[in-house]
């Protein structure tokens, strides 16, 4: 793989940009791999990347039924933060956030990480207390967050209306090192990194069956033929239950639609990420100038990757009181992704009832921010067969044992 650099740009500029190579090849499947990762989204590709980088396992295939990064990796609102309440969550999300800081250099691919600062608005007394508690918890966890008053919120977000009649802004939790990144570039950068280590990325290759012998996984049947493997990592977000059923077990997961929308592009008006959890909307401005807006999930099982109109209406209605200027904007497009929700709104990184099948799912509405940390912890789990410190608390057995990592209560909403 030829490295990207300023010299490469200069060299290509001299020869009409004819020398750029493909970022990753489109190989023919081998009959057998050491590890197969199902799902070439951010989490799957990061898993493969850190398997190679941290453990030297490079006989790996990442197989994907559609196109690379075409699921939730390409459908989220690109927010990165680690201001969680519970210790296991903070640890893995902070690992991810800190990896994001050096990711462009590590991958030699610009993921456009923008630590622009992230505000979580407190609009009720309950939220004020909740976020102050989170700030204190983050202090103990070594995560930089702080509580700011309404005036500082106004200084950071001039267009905000502090004195909404229904939901006044009482302050905010600020994580200055939170922000956004270019979501597609994260998938593309990891894919290029995997390909450079000799891994195979097989797109348009759907898993139709998973076979095991004596309780150990042996091969997967795909639309591009049967492929053998020693270990199988299932990292497919919304379709986790579908894959688990093929492997012969059930998950404590329900798949629901989460949607987002963007406005027409406008001049810069907001240079931080704002989340308003009471009214349930979040807002940031992309580099193209669009306002990127996210809302809540549907409450029922849905695999259709479509939005629901009433959620668009609810989200916009909620945000207009706090951000009056957006009432004049036209919305450009909206879309939906299928997220895998667990009961405690925390992910699952776990061994499964079938030997050498590992699962990484349940990131629900907040998976993008976790991609590097999730891949790091999953690679450790797959390589060693046992979870490392980051994944240890996220096993499937936590449901049976009643050890929930209850971020649904901590956040009060999907997050």
């Amino acid at each position: 793989m030829r490295r990207y650099s300023v010299f490469a740009i200069a060299r290509e500029a001299m020869r009409y940009h004819e020398g750029w190579e493909r970022a990753w090849p489109a190989p023919t499947p081998k009959p057998r791999y050491d590890v197969i990762v199902v799902g070439a989204g951010g989490h799957g590709l990061a898993t493969a990347y850190y398997l190679g980088k941290n453990f030297g396992i490079t006989n790996v295939a990442v197989i994907e039924k559609g196109w690379l990064g075409g699921g939730n990796t390409g459908r989220n609102t690109t927010i990165i933060r680690s201001n969680y309440l519970q210790d296991p969550s903070s640890a893995i999300y902070e690992k991810a956030r800190s990896l994001y800081e050096g990711l462009s250099r590590d991958l030699n691919y610009n993921v456009m990480f923008s630590p622009r600062g992230l505000l979580m608005l407190a609009q009720t007394e309950h939220e004020v207390r909740g976020y102050k508690r989170t700030v204190n918890a983050n202090d103990l966890q070594g995560i930089e967050t702080r509580w700011i008053g309404p005036q500082e919120v106004k200084d950071l977000v001039p267009m905000i209306n502090l004195h909404g009649p229904r939901y006044p802004v009482l302050g905010a939790l600020l994580q200055e090192r939170g922000g956004t990144a270019r979501h597609d570039a994260v998938a593309w950068g990891y894919a290029r990194g995997c390909a450079a280590m000799g891994m195979h990325i097989l797109q348009n290759c759907e898993v139709t069956a998973i076979r095991s012998e004596n309780g150990q996984v042996s091969e997967v049947e795909t639309t591009r033929g049967t492929i053998g493997c020693k270990k199988l990592a299932i990292v497919v977000a919304g379709h986790s239950s579908v894959m688990a059923e093929k492997a012969g077990f059930r998950l404590p997961v329900e798949s629901m639609a989460l949607q987002a929308l963007v406005s027409e592009p406008i001049k810069p008006m907001i240079d931080v990420v704002v989340m308003a959890n009471t009214v349930h909307g979040y807002l940031s401005q992309s580099d193209k100038g669009e306002l990127v807006i996210g809302g809540g999930t549907d409450g029922f099982v849905n695999y259709s990757q479509r939005g629901s109109w009433q959620h668009v209406e609810e989200t916009i209605r909620a945000l207009i009181e706090t951000f009056p200027p957006i009432s004049r904007l036209r919305m450009l497009r909206q879309w939906g992704g299928i997220v895998d929700m667990t009961g405690d709104r925390s992910p699952i990184l776990s061994k499964t009832p079938v030997g050498n099948i590992f699962i990484n799912c349940g990131w629900g509405t907040g998976g993008f921010k976790a991609i590097p940390g999730s891949g790091w912890a999953m690679a450790e789990l797959v390589a060693n067969g046992e979870p490392g410190p980051l994944a240890a608390d996220f096993g499937l057995e936590r449901f049976r044992e009643g050890r929930f990592i209850d971020e649904s209560v901590a956040a009060g909403v999907a997050h």
Binding site: R250, E254, S308, W309
Partner: protein, 107 residues
């Protein structure tokens, strides 16, 4: 927008008038149940990409619970019936089988 007909009051309601209540026909394990059975009852979900049986409450209407049989990809609704039953009605099962011959059944 999803629209379902409440089998109690007959109103065809949009999803904003209804509250979803999760997977239907979960069977609570009895006092002799193993830990695994109880875990399965509490947490494990079928979450099918296909025909779902789910509980709904006509919350902003008659207030009654009912069960809807629906396709989780196409959103086709096969039928609704009152929640006071332990299994789907036979004619509804026939309707679904006619629509999807490869359907594996509700259990």
């Amino acid at each position: 927008m999803l629209r379902l007909t409440c089998p109690h009051c007959g109103v065809t309601a949009e999803e904003t008038e209804l509250t979803p209540g999760g997977e239907a026909h979960l069977r609570r394990a009895g006092p002799d149940a193993t830990d695994a059975e109880f875990e399965s009852y509490l947490f494990a979900r079928k979450n099918p990409k296909g025909v779902v049986f789910e509980r709904w409450r006509h919350a902003h209407g008659c207030g009654k619970w009912f069960i809807a049989a629906r396709h989780s990809v196409s959103w086709q609704v096969f039928g609704t019936y009152p929640a006071q039953t332990t299994e789907p009605p036979a004619d509804l099962i026939e309707t679904i089988r006619a629509a999807i011959p490869t359907w594996e059944g509700w259990q």
